[in-house]
Symmetry: D2
Subunit: 303 residues, 4 copies
C-alpha cells in the first residue's frame, strides 16, 4: 500500500509473494506448494497462524488454498471435471465436521449486470438446491440418497438493494439457521496473469476490500455467527495495479519513497474507479462458474 491509493489483492498468495521476492520468512505464516506437472495445476496452501502473520499479510488468520491452472479458462470439459473434483475435496476439508445435519447456504455475491462481477450469481444458478425438498419429504425425497440441505441466495449489491450484503445474509441466517455459509465471489488480483485461471478457497470468509466492488463489512464467523467458506476467482485487476507494476519495473533503481511520490501523482482518483479485465471474460466465466458449481455440488452431495 502506497501513498493515498491502495493496490489491492484478494489473494493471500499474492500478499505472500511480496515477501518471497525479498526471500523473507514471515513469522506465523506457513506456506506449502504442490505442483501437478502433467495437468499444470499448482496448489498453494497459505496458513496464517498468528496475529503477527495476519497483520503482515493484511488478512485474517486461517487457511487459504489457491488452485492455479493456466488451462482453466479453456473449454475442456474433462479437465474441468478434474478441477471440480479437486475443488470438492478442498471444500469438504473446510466444512464443519461435527455431525450429519449439515445445512449449507450458498451466497452468490456480486452484480449480475456486470460481466466480471457476475461469477457468484452464475454459480448459484447451477447448484442442486435441496433444502425445501429435505424439509418437505426428508432425505427420501431425493433420488440419490442422503444429502445435506442446500439453499442459495444472490443478495445483489448495495446500489441495487440499499442494504449491505451482511445485513441480508445475517437476517437469512437467523431465520433459516444454516450450519455453514459458502460465499462465492469475483475477486481482484494484483497480476493480470492470474485472472480467470485461479480459484481461492478460504475458511475465513469474505473481507472488507474483497470483491470487484468493496464490501463495507466482512462476512465471517465473527459477523454471521457460523463458519463462512469463501470461494473466489480473480476476474479483475485494479487499473492502478498495472500502472504501479509498469512504473516499478522502470524505476526499480529508485528509493521506495521517491517511487511512491511518482505513483501518487500518476494514479488519479479517476483511475482508481477503473478496473482491468480480459476481453473474453464472458466465455471464461461461463466455463468457470460451471466448474465451481460442480465442485460445490460434488462436495455437498458426498458431505
Amino acid at each position: 500500500m502506497v501513498g493515498s491509493y491502495k493496490i489491492r489483492t484478494d489473494l493471500a498468495l499474492e500478499n505472500r509473494e511480496k515477501f518471497e521476492r525479498d526471500q523473507v520468512e514471515v513469522e506465523g505464516v506457513a506456506l506449502k506448494q504442490d505442483y501437478d506437472q502433467e495437468r499444470d495445476i499448482r496448489t498453494t496452501r497459505v496458513e496464517i497462524r498468528t496475529e503477527h502473520g495476519a497483520k503482515v499479510m493484511e488478512k485474517p488468520c486461517g487457511t487459504y488454498i489457491t488452485v492455479e491452472a493456466p488451462d482453466m479458462a479453456l473449454p475442456d470439459k474433462k479437465f474441468h471435471q478434474e478441477i471440480s473434483r479437486l475443488l470438492a475435496r478442498h471444500i469438504r476439508s473446510m466444512l464443519p465436521r461435527d455431525g450429519k445435519n449439515l445445512s449449507v447456504l450458498v451466497a452468490g455475491l456480486g452484480n449480475r449486470e456486470v460481466t466480471p462481477d457476475a461469477l457468484g450469481p452464475q454459480v448459484i444458478q447451477q447448484l442442486n438446491i435441496t433444502r425445501h425438498m429435505v424439509k418437505e419429504y426428508g432425505n427420501s425425497g431425493l433420488e440419490e440418497g442422503p444429502a445435506c440441505m442446500v439453499s442459495s441466495i444472490a443478495p445483489g449489491v448495495m446500489a441495487q438493494t440499499g442494504m449491505e450484503t451482511l445485513e441480508i445474509l445475517r437476517g437469512i441466517v437467523r431465520e433459516t439457521k444454516p450450519t455453514v455459509i459458502i460465499a462465492v465471489d469475483a475477486l481482484a488480483a494484483r497480476s493480470t496473469r492470474r485472472l480467470n485461471c485461479t480459484v481461492q478457497l478460504t475458511d475465513t470468509g469474505i473481507h472488507p476490500g474483497s470483491g470487484v466492488f468493496n464490501f463495507r463489512s466482512g462476512l465471517s464467523l465473527e459477523t454471521l455467527g457460523i463458519p463462512v467458506i469463501g470461494i473466489g476467482v480473480p476476474t479483475v485487476v485494479d487499473a492502478a495495479s498495472i500502472v504501479h507494476d509498469a512504473v516499478s519495473q522502470l524505476l526499480e533503481t529508485l528509493e521506495e519513497a521517491e517511487m511512491e511520490e511518482f505513483l501518487g501523482e500518476l494514479i488519479t482518483p479517476g483511475l482508481q474507479r477503473m478496473f482491468v479485465t480480459p476481453k473474453d471474460v464472458d466465455e471464461t466465466l461461463q466455463v468457470l462458474s460451471k466448474t465451481i458449481a460442480q465442485g460445490i455440488n460434488l462436495a455437498l452431495q458426498e458431505a
Copy 2:
C-alpha cells in the same frame, strides 16, 4: 371452487363478481366503483370488513383497490404517467401515517427466468433506492430534498433458493427494520380479459395461493410484523379456468352438481400445472413494470 381442482383468482374484484351475477349483497363487503370515461379507467374499491365477508370472499379483511384500463398494455407514455400518478395516490393512502421516518422495503416476488412471472424483479430494477445513501449521508445526500429510505430485494422462488419467500423476508425485516413492505407480484386472474391491463393494490399483503406460483405462507402483518402492501398485475390465467368457463357457458342449464362432475373429469392434473398467457407478454410487462415502478417512486418521493 369445484371438485378436486380449484379455479384461482388473486383479484378480490373477481371473487366479488361471482355474487354480482346473482345480484346478491355480500354482508361485510363494501363495493365502490369509479369510472373515468375519458381515459377508460375503472377503479373498484372492495372493502372486506367482517370475518363473514372474508370467509365468503376467500380473502382476508382489508382494502382491495383495482385499477382496470384496457389501454394499459399499449406503449403510450403519457397515459402511463397518468396511471403512475393514480397508483402513487393509492399507494400513499395505504402507507402508515404515523410520522416521518418511513423506511420501505420493496420485495419483487417471482421468477425472473419466466416471462409472465418476472414482473416483481423487473419493477425492482427501476426503483430509486435510497436507504444506503440516507444511512450514510442523511437526507442531505439526496438531490431532491427529504425522502424516505427505500430498499429492495428480489428473493427468487423456492425452487431456486430452497427457502420460502417468507423466511427470506422475515430475516431481512428483522435485520434492517423497515416500517412497511411493498410486495410486487404477478397474479393469476379468472378472466383472460383482465390480463396485463389491471393493477390490484391491497393493504392485506400477499396470500397463500397468490402469484403465478403459489406461496405456502402468506406475507402479511401477521407473518412479518409490519404492514404489507401488495401490488399485483394478473399476467396469467390457470388453464383450468378457460376450460371451466367454456364448459359452464355450454352447460348453463345443468345442475351445479352435474357440472362439477363433468369438470372434474375434464380438468386433469396435467392441465392444472399449465397456465395461459398472452403472446405479447414480454412487451406489455416491460411497459407495466415501468408504470408500477414509477408509481412507487412517486409515492415514496412525496411520502
Copy 3:
C-alpha cells in the same frame, strides 16, 4: 380446423393421429413407429410422399421424425446424453450427403425475451461455432480433427427487427453460402401431454403457422435455395386447443356442424391470442436446449 378459428399443431404426428382415431389409412402417408421400452422413448417417422398426402396432412411432402420421451423434461444428465446421440443420428440422416465440404448455418428462431419461445436462441448459445476458425486456419486450427463449418444466427422476431426471418436468413445465405440450414424453433402442439418432452425433426424446414409466433413465409429449400432441416420442441399449446378438447369430449354425441357452432362462440379472438405452457417451462427449456445443442454438435462433429 373449424369455423373462424384454427387449432394449430406443428407436429406431423398429431395431424396423423386425427386419422388414426378413425382407423383411416391416409394415401401417400407412411407411418413407422419404434418403441424403446427400457428407456420409454417412442420414435415415430411420418413420410408424406404425395401431394394428396400433403393436402390431407396440411404439411409439405417430406420426412418428419418425432422423438417422444416423457422423462425428457427431467434433469437426468445420462439420459439426456442418450437423447442427444439419438438426435445426432437423425440429424446426420437428413444432412446432404454429397461430399465433404459441409457448411451449416444454425438459425435459432424465436424471441429470447419470452421464456417458451426462447428455445432457438438458447440452443445457439451452446453450439461449437467453427466457421471463422476453419476459414482462417483451415481444419488444422481445430483440436479435434476435420470438421464442417458451423455458423449461427438468432435473427429475432419481426416486432423487434421490422424484418421477416426469411429476409434476414436469405440475405445471410446469399452472402455466406452455407450448404444447409438447421432451423431450431419452439413449436405449438395440440396436446399438453407432449409439451417439453417431444422433439420433431424434419427435412422440410419451417412452415407458415409454425412456431410460437407465426411466420408469414416458410423457411425451406424453395424459399432459401438450400435444404432446411427443422428441429422443434412443442413448448406451448394454443389456448383454443384446450377449450376445443374439453368441449369435444363433452359433446361427442353432437353432429360436427353443431359442435363447430358451439366452438365458434366459445373461442373468442381474445382467446386466440393466448397460449398455454407449463409452470416449470424455464427449467425444462434449460435442459432441452442443452440436449438439442449437444445433438447438433455431435452430428456436425462427425459429419
Copy 4:
C-alpha cells in the same frame, strides 16, 4: 503507434489532440468547437477533407462530431432528453437528403454478454421499429403520421456466429434494401476521462480496429453500398493506454525512440488482451443506451 503494440482510439477527436499538443495545424483537417457553458456540453466537429489528412489522422475522410458532457453518466432525465435532441439534430444532418422514402437499418454491434460491449444491442431494444408496419399498412398504420421505415438487427460477434459482421449486414442490406445504415457500437478511447460521457457520430461508418473487439472489415459506403452513419460511445480504454500514459508522463525528458523501447517491454501481449472500464459501467450504459435510442427515434420520426 509504437513498437509492436498499438495504442488505439476510435475517437477522431483524440487523434486530433496529438497535434494540438504540438500546436500543429494538420493540412486537410478542419476543426470546429462549440461549448455550451451552462450545460457543460462540448461539441467538436472534425472534418477530414483530404487523403493527406486521412493518413495523418489514421481515419477515413468524412465528418466526425463528438459530443462531450461530463454529466452524461448521471441519471438526470431532463438533461438526457436535451442530449437526445442534440444527437437527433446531428443524426438528421448526416441522413441522405434525396427524398422521402428513407429506410433505415439500425445495427446494434457488439456482444450483449459483455457489459461494456453491450451498448449496441441495448440501444436496439429501445427503438421504434416500423418497417414491418409500413410495409403492411403503409404510413396510415402508424399513429403519429408519416415515418420512415426503421428496421434493426443485433448481429452478434464472430466468436458467437462464425461470421463477420460485414457478411451478415451485407446479406441483410441486399435483401431488405435500406437506404442508410446507422451502426451503434461501444468504442475504445485513449483517455479514461472520456469513458461513458462522450458520443461520436460520423458519416464514415465503422472501421477496422474500432469497437471493443476489433472488426476485420469496415462497415462503410465502400463495403456495404449504402451510407453508414456510425454512432459510438467510448466504454473502454486499452490496458496498454494507461501504462503508456503513466510512463510517458514519467519519462517525458527521454527521446521518443528510447521511450518506445521501454514501452515495448512493459506492454506484454497478455496486457494487450485486457481492457479498462469503470466500475459503474452497467448503470451508465443503461442511461446512455436510452439517450442514444431516443436520439435515433427522434431523428427518424421527424426525418
